[in-house]
Amino acid sequence: MRLKTVLLSGIIIMLFLISCGGGEDAKKPEPAPQQEQPQATNPLDNKGIGPIKQITLPETIDQKMADAGKKIYHEKCTSCHKEYEKYIGPAPLGIFERRSPEWIMNMILNPEVMIQKDPIAKDLIKQFASPMANQHLTEAEARSVLEYFRTLKQ
């Protein structure tokens, strides 16, 4: 008796789904949830999430690249980041003591994902509230901004 009811409801529900057409199968499946990066004990070990996997900074600063980076920084970044003081976002002064170069570049190039998934970026948005804007720098431009950051001295 009960089994019959269950069976009947099953059939009816199927009918319901068929007759109503339902949602056409979503052609774009939801992206699989990415695993959060485990909290690195040393923040300098965190390379962030984005296109930059590994970079090595040469001993000496490439002044030409740094100059180009300074120009880009002033055009696209200074609305929120002043070199030597906290503003809308943190100041880049001394950033190499706090972050890996890869993390910095990924934060510039991939901020939407970083503020959702990266543990340090998630903490930062709690502190600063304003999300980092994607200013669509190319990798080369982001690299030159990084070089400019190397020239910042107290």
Partner: protein, 651 residues
């Protein structure tokens, strides 16, 4: 017993749950699969972009097909406070005319640019009826980028239909007026008509190449030849009686009026030969400079005019019953369908026969130097037993034509060549134009026809005396037409054009690159923001980025100052516009796209503290995106100061 009850409940749930779909079906369709055919799952894209004119709203609205979802309303001839169109200093020049700034027009026929007779997704043109103009919308921006006024014209209805490669778009006088305009008694003299050919440059820029002076009939609609008839444009006309009063009766006396066939390649020859006469005129040509995103308005003072009597072979009249409205050329270019709106039967002319009749001089008479071809020497066939009030015809590319019938509220499908009626479907109600994606081109995408209806009466929940007009999507992929969906439209969906989304979507601009910003009052970084006074003109060079303005505090503004806020959106990302609004400002907000600079004029009239803020929700700190302006009495000695952040940062 319990089981029975349970079943009943479930069945009622099914019926109830599906009731919406069944409502859609009422009186319109037999099969139940309409909902699936128009369902575009959340996050998925429509197959077609449809551009519908707003008629008296003066705008173009952009819909997806088959879903009928509205994506955007593009302001064209009417100001739009939402987008600051016609309110900010950048777009005001677009609405300049020889009569001054006009904030409205009646926009009728969207027309996609074509390459080799097929819509190519570059531009959309649309006519302004009332103060004759043609606008061009750039389909990478979905914004109006150019408007040209048509001189020596009035009631610009037979416009802006394109030639096969968008060499020209056309315009014509639905309302004849004296040429040139003068003060004369109405009724004593016959007025004149003009047919205008507007050359379209490679960059889309429009220029009036020539006008043809024609008898003052009412030139109603037009379409270009294609394929074999490329090089010709056909215009319908009614009121060959040339009456000026009670036209409802007086313009319907003649059994046949005309389709005017214009050979524009011949016109080009006559222009080269110097047959055109230059007439003094004054009209405005307005366009948006791409780099600065600032519109310019230019006055043009002459126009070239050809007179048919001096230019044999330029134009012919094809007698067509009765008060023909639409003139539509089939995809092969052979058949020219004249929808005689007061005739029981529709005449279809043959292009081959036209050429032969011209060669044999089969003319019944000549009007002002324009030969009138004998009807039986040009007509290919009559479509009979159709409906009442035929208006427009589009084609599916499979040998069938679809004609809208206003009085009998229906679409009739008939076969080209045999002229037999094969199907008909009611519309709700009083269809005007109809549209098949690419349906007036050489290669229609003949999957749907959209009925563009003038009257909805009981179709939707009522909204007081003024009701929505509507579009109805009809499946034409099978033998029988099937109604799938109807949806209300913005303004009057006078005419529409559609094309596959893939022809437009990949070119859609995401934001303006700051590097390319060439606005004369741009501010490319926060360090460059400033406020400059010259007499009583104050220019504020301001920037915006999530989520603050720079400067956001300004002092030293005085009552009566002419303040221009030149605001640059420094964002360089997709979908991050910011707004700008000031307490008491008498224009509208700005809505500034990333990388763009827009200008807001403000003339403060009272002292006080005036907040300004971002009016487009931009981030979690959108509510904090706000600043203050201090307005002091005229002549006060409050110094001009501006800052953002701590007062220590005061400049």
């Amino acid at each position: 017993m319990k089981n029975t009850l349970f079943t009943i409940i479930i069945i009622s749930a099914i019926i109830f749950g599906c009731s919406k779909k069944q409502e859609n079906a009422q009186g319109a369709m037999a099969s139940g699969d309409a909902a699936q055919k128009v369902y575009v799952a959340p996050g998925n894209y429509d197959e077609f972009y449809a551009f519908m004119s707003g008629g008296f709203s003066g705008q173009v609205s952009v819909y997806g097909l088959p879903s009928g979802r509205l994506f955007k309303v593009i302001p064209v001839f009417s100001v739009d406070a939402e987008k600051s169109y016609g309110f900010n200093e950048e777009t005001k020049p677009l609405l300049e005319t020889s009569f001054g700034f006009i904030p409205w027009d009646d926009a009728h026929h969207p027309e996609l640019s074509q390459t080799e007779g097929v819509p190519d997704g570059r531009w959309l043109f649309i006519n302004g009826n009332n103060t004759p103009r043609i606008a061009r919308i750039d389909l990478s921006l979905f914004e109006t980028v150019e408007i040209i006024e048509i001189p020596n014209s009035s009631g610009n209805h037979s416009s802006p239909f394109t030639t096969e490669n968008t060499e020209y778009i056309v315009a014509g006088t639905r309302f004849s007026v004296p040429f040139p305009q003068k003060d004369v008694p109405i009724g004593d003299t016959k007025f004149d008509g003009t047919l205008s050919f507007i050359k379209v440059g490679k960059d889309g820029k429009m220029e009036i190449a020539f006008q043809i002076l024609v008898p003052g009939f009412d030139y109603d609609l037009a379409h270009s030849g294609k394929g074999k008839s490329h090089g010709w444009v056909f215009f319908t006309c009614y009121n060959t009686e040339q009456k000026n009063t009670l036209k409802e009766v007086n313009a319907s006396q003649n059994d046949k009026d005309f389709i005017a066939a214009v050979n524009w390649k011949k016109a080009e020859e006559y222009l080269k030969q110097g047959k055109a006469k230059e007439y003094p005129v004054s009209y405005k040509h307005n366009w948006l400079d791409e780099k600065s995103q600032v519109a310019k308005s230019e006055e043009i003072k002459t126009v070239k005019v050809l007179t048919p009597a001096d230019c044999p072979g330029l134009i012919y009249y094809l007698p067509t019953p009765k008060s023909p409205h639409g003139v539509d050329v089939d995809p092969t270019g052979e058949y020219i369908v004249g929808a005689g709106k007061l005739s029981a039967d529709m005449a279809v002319h043959s292009f081959d026969k036209l050429l032969k009749a011209i060669e044999n001089k089969d003319f019944e008479k000549t009007i002002n130097g324009i030969p009138v071809i004998k009807f039986d020497k040009v007509v290919a066939g009559m479509v009979t037993k159709t409906g009442l009030g035929p208006l427009h015809t589009e084609f599916d590319g499979k040998g069938y034509a679809y004609t809208s019938f206003f009085i009998t509220s229906e679409i009739v499908k008939w076969k080209l060549g045999t002229w037999e009626v094969v199907d008909r479907i009611p519309t709700y109600y009083s269809i005007g134009h109809l549209m098949i994606p690419g349906g007036d081109s050489k290669k229609p995408w003949g999957k749907y026809v959209v009925a563009l209806n003038k009257i909805t009466k009981d179709r939707y929940l009522p909204t007081g005396p003024e009701l929505a007009q509507s579009a109805q999507l009809i499946d034409i992929s099978g033998d029988k037409m099937k109604l799938l969906l109807d949806f209300p439209t913005v303004g009057e969906p006078h005419y529409a054009q559609a094309l596959p989304a893939e022809l437009v979507k990949p070119k859609s601009k995401q934001f303006f690159n700051l590097k390319d910003n060439n606005h004369p009052y741009k501010t490319l970084s926060e360090n460059e923001t400033k406020v400059v006074r010259q007499g009583n003109v104050v220019r504020v060079y301001m920037t915006m980025i999530r989520s603050h303005f720079s400067p956001d505090n300004i002092e030293g503004i005085q009552v009566g100052d002419n303040v221009y806020f030149h605001v640059t959106n420094l964002e360089q990302d997709f979908d991050v516009p910011h707004g700008f609004a000031v307490l008491g400002a008498t224009n509208a907000e700005l809505l500034i796209m990333p990388g763009q600079t827009e200008t807001f004029y403000w003339n403060p009239k009272k002292v006080g503290i005036y907040p300004f803020y971002c009016s487009d929700f931009c981030s979690a700190l959108h509510q904090e995106m706000q600043g203050y302006i201090r307005v002091s009495p005229k002549g006060a000695n409050v110094p001009l100061k501006w800052w953002v952040g701590e007062p220590s940062a005061k400049k």
